[in-house]
Symmetry: C2
Subunit: 444 residues, 2 copies
């Protein structure tokens, strides 16, 4: 029987004040916030006050678990149990040149693991998987859930955007956070990511939490904290979880920009390409095979991944997926079918020496201002623009030698992009003090 206090209506104003004063909210209070906001019972200005209080005061593990579940259950939770075999996804917190998802989905699917992937768009200085996929002529990321299910069953992988049915509470809350200074909370980030990823009907999830100058979390301790929150939240919901904390102190691979990154993915799937990108793809695929139970050890998973690339199975799966999602698979053999920028220009080093550091966010901004990203949600992406990075940390460079080549269509903000690139590089007589590893830490 409900006690009188349980029967009382929960007033949003009381919940705001409780969180404001550092109190721990009950499950009923958190559910009231999420369901009330999603139903439109209380307005944006109350939600934003609550979000700010939650950001500053933080949350307990119990609060975070309830928040994530309430957001997850605001929409449909997919169930792919009719598909025999493990279902695994991976999620990256985003960075510059991070195109691993586009390699991983076909690579892991070619190893017999279903990969149902619901991805996001780029915002700010980071790129987004959906924008990169759309650089392939015809590729449709706006599948219905029924089309998603059919493609997944037939191909083994499918890559789409968040539909209206998946965690609608997150969709609305994220839009509000974006304009109210309430994005940068590990608790709110965790609930946002996990409510979407737990709706995908996967058994296991590999998280790639970026750290460094090109990541949203620039400090290792913040990346670690977010990683541990997400791993715990996923485990509590019965998922196998692993988080890799990986380096984003310089771009991943050498290509930044939507069509350019497709080119680099094709290189990797052909067994070529930049060593760091290749290494990270192999590592993440290996962990996906492990949590799927497909490999007994990470080492076995790496070997399997190498083999699938060498045999051409991964590339074959990529072709199948592109075709199934309406894209022009001929880009694999003829890269000129991808959008091409009209002009290129090299950005030279002003002095010689060794690349001591790269402010990676600035390189992301350079691509952004050329039209490769969005400053506002409604901005339209130019898929052809971006940069090719010639010099990475530790590389020697002569004065006048090209640091990057800029690919552009409009000269409107070219100077701004060039200046951002020049400013991003620190060139010194000595090599960098520390050599950062690609994989910093594994959290399970």
């Amino acid at each position: 029987m409900a006690t009188p206090s349980q029967r009382q209506t929960i007033r949003i104003i009381d919940v705001i004040r409780k969180k404001r004063d550092g109190g721990e909210l009950s499950p009923a209070e958190i559910e009231a916030v999420i369901s009330g906001y999603t139903r439109g019972d209380f307005p944006d200005y109350q939600m934003s006050a609550w979000l700010m209080a939650a950001l500053i005061r933080g949350m307990s593990k119990a609060e975070l678990a309830t928040l994530t579940e309430a957001m997850l259950h605001s929409g449909q939770v997919l169930d792919f149990s009719e598909l025999a075999g493990p279902k695994v996804d991976k999620h990256s917190t985003g960075g510059v040149g991070d195109k691993t998802s586009l390699v991983l989905a076909p690579l892991v699917a070619s190893g017999g693991v279903y990969v149902p992937m619901i991805s996001g768009r780029g915002l700010g200085h980071t790129g987004g998987t959906l924008d990169k996929l759309e650089a392939i002529p015809g590729f449709n990321v706006n599948f219905t859930l029924a089309e998603f299910r059919r493609t997944l069953a037939r191909v083994g992988c499918a890559m789409i955007g968040q539909t209206a049915e998946i965690a609608p509470a997150d969709k609305e809350i994220y839009a509000l956070r974006d304009v109210t200074g309430t994005v940068e909370s590990p608790f709110l980030i965790c609930a946002s990511i996990m409510s979407k990823k737990l709706a995908e009907g996967v058994d296991a999830l590999v998280l790639d939490v970026k750290t460094g100058s090109g990541a949203f979390m620039k400090k290792m301790e913040d990346s670690e904290f977010l990683a541990s929150l997400m791993v715990e939240t996923g485990k509590r919901m019965g998922k196998k979880m692993v988080a890799l904390i990986t380096d984003m102190d310089q771009p991943l691979g050498n290509y930044v920009g939507n069509a350019l990154e497709i080119v680099e993915c094709l290189d990797i799937l052909e067994g070529r390409g930049a060593a760091d990108l290749r290494e990270l793809c192999i590592e993440e695929a290996a962990w996906m095979f492990c949590v799927a139970g497909r490999s007994g050890t990470v080492q076995e998973g790496r070997q399997l991944s190498e083999k699938l690339i060498a045999q051409g199975s991964a590339m074959q799966k990529f072709r199948e997926m592109v075709r199934a999602q309406g894209g022009d698979e001929r880009v694999v053999d003829d890269r000129a079918r991808l959008p091409q920028a009209k002009s290129t220009v090299a950005v030279p080093a002003v002095q010689g020496g060794l690349v001591a550091a790269i402010d990676c966010e600035r390189l992301g901004v350079a691509s952004l201002v050329l039209g490769g990203g969005r400053e506002k949600k409604e901005d339209v992406i130019d898929p052809a623009v971006g940069l090719v990075v010639h010099k990475k940390v530790g590389d020697g460079v002569a004065a006048g030698e090209a640091l990057c080549t800029v690919y552009y269509n409009s000269g409107a903000r070219l100077e701004e992009a060039q200046a951002a690139i020049t400013q991003a590089y620190t060139i010194a007589p000595e090599p960098p003090r520390e050599r950062r590893p690609l994989l910093h830490k594994v959290i399970q």
Copy 2:
């Protein structure tokens, strides 16, 4: 010449994030927040996020000064320099049974000091000066500024509500704070009060900051902090300032409710009435005479106040003000002309002993639920209802003896009011541990 950074537009999102992270905002940033919000350039949901960040992170003295000035200059600042003689006001942070303003305005005006008073309405458990004035049939608190000025010049005092011309930024921000859990910040309270009071064209201001169970600030340290913020802010703007921290751990006087409080004011103006209320009125009038330069010492001010009441000058001024503002001055001689409740009932003590404590907020809530106050802004006040308090802290009481008498029109929430009164009283065998003074502290 403006530097490039000064020429840049201030983005509200950056100001929200800066305050969120505990940064100190520049004057330009604070002005951008207030002017942008007042112009409607940015929406409520961004303002509420900023308010929550400001509440939790606090403000520096410089930030508070800029905020107050920006809110003050969002509207008209009155200038009564054409009136020869000092202009002084007083402001109370509000409590239960606090009707001193209604005595002070005519009392101090009868001593040759102009009192231009812009007051507020009751909200929550506290009463409001405007609601009390409106219990006098015909009394018009909705004067234009021109009518306010004319009445002040002719009578020497005038009491009105906040017009659209006075600190409109405060009016909008206050409404938003009320529904977003951002009321209880000493900085935001200070800016709200002072932006209105500094617009009144006064030379000096006496603040009555309440402390105790019936006040918004229940702890002495909070009341002291708010008092010192307001005194500093007023001084910085060139005003003579004094704050009295006074007791609100039990109702002030014996009458709570709008018409009932008018009755008690008439008692005081006739030289009778409750000792505590009388003492506080004399004390505050004395300080108003001091800051006005009308008395050399507070002791002289007290003697002047006593004399003005004894001579009948204060009551005469009250009649003039009521008449000038359209009210029925005959209530002075015939209190039956005030709204009368249909029924009364005594609330008896359940046990005998001594009144050890009164949870004063609960008595305010008792009057509120009878219809004497507002739970929501749109609630309509019943001026006739309220309570007469028979037992105060330290009084002896027999079991079954009346603690209060309830004046009511509708029985709908009578039981709730009776229960609140019973629960408000702590009756014990011993007298209270400490005897709280009426005046705790003077901050200048």
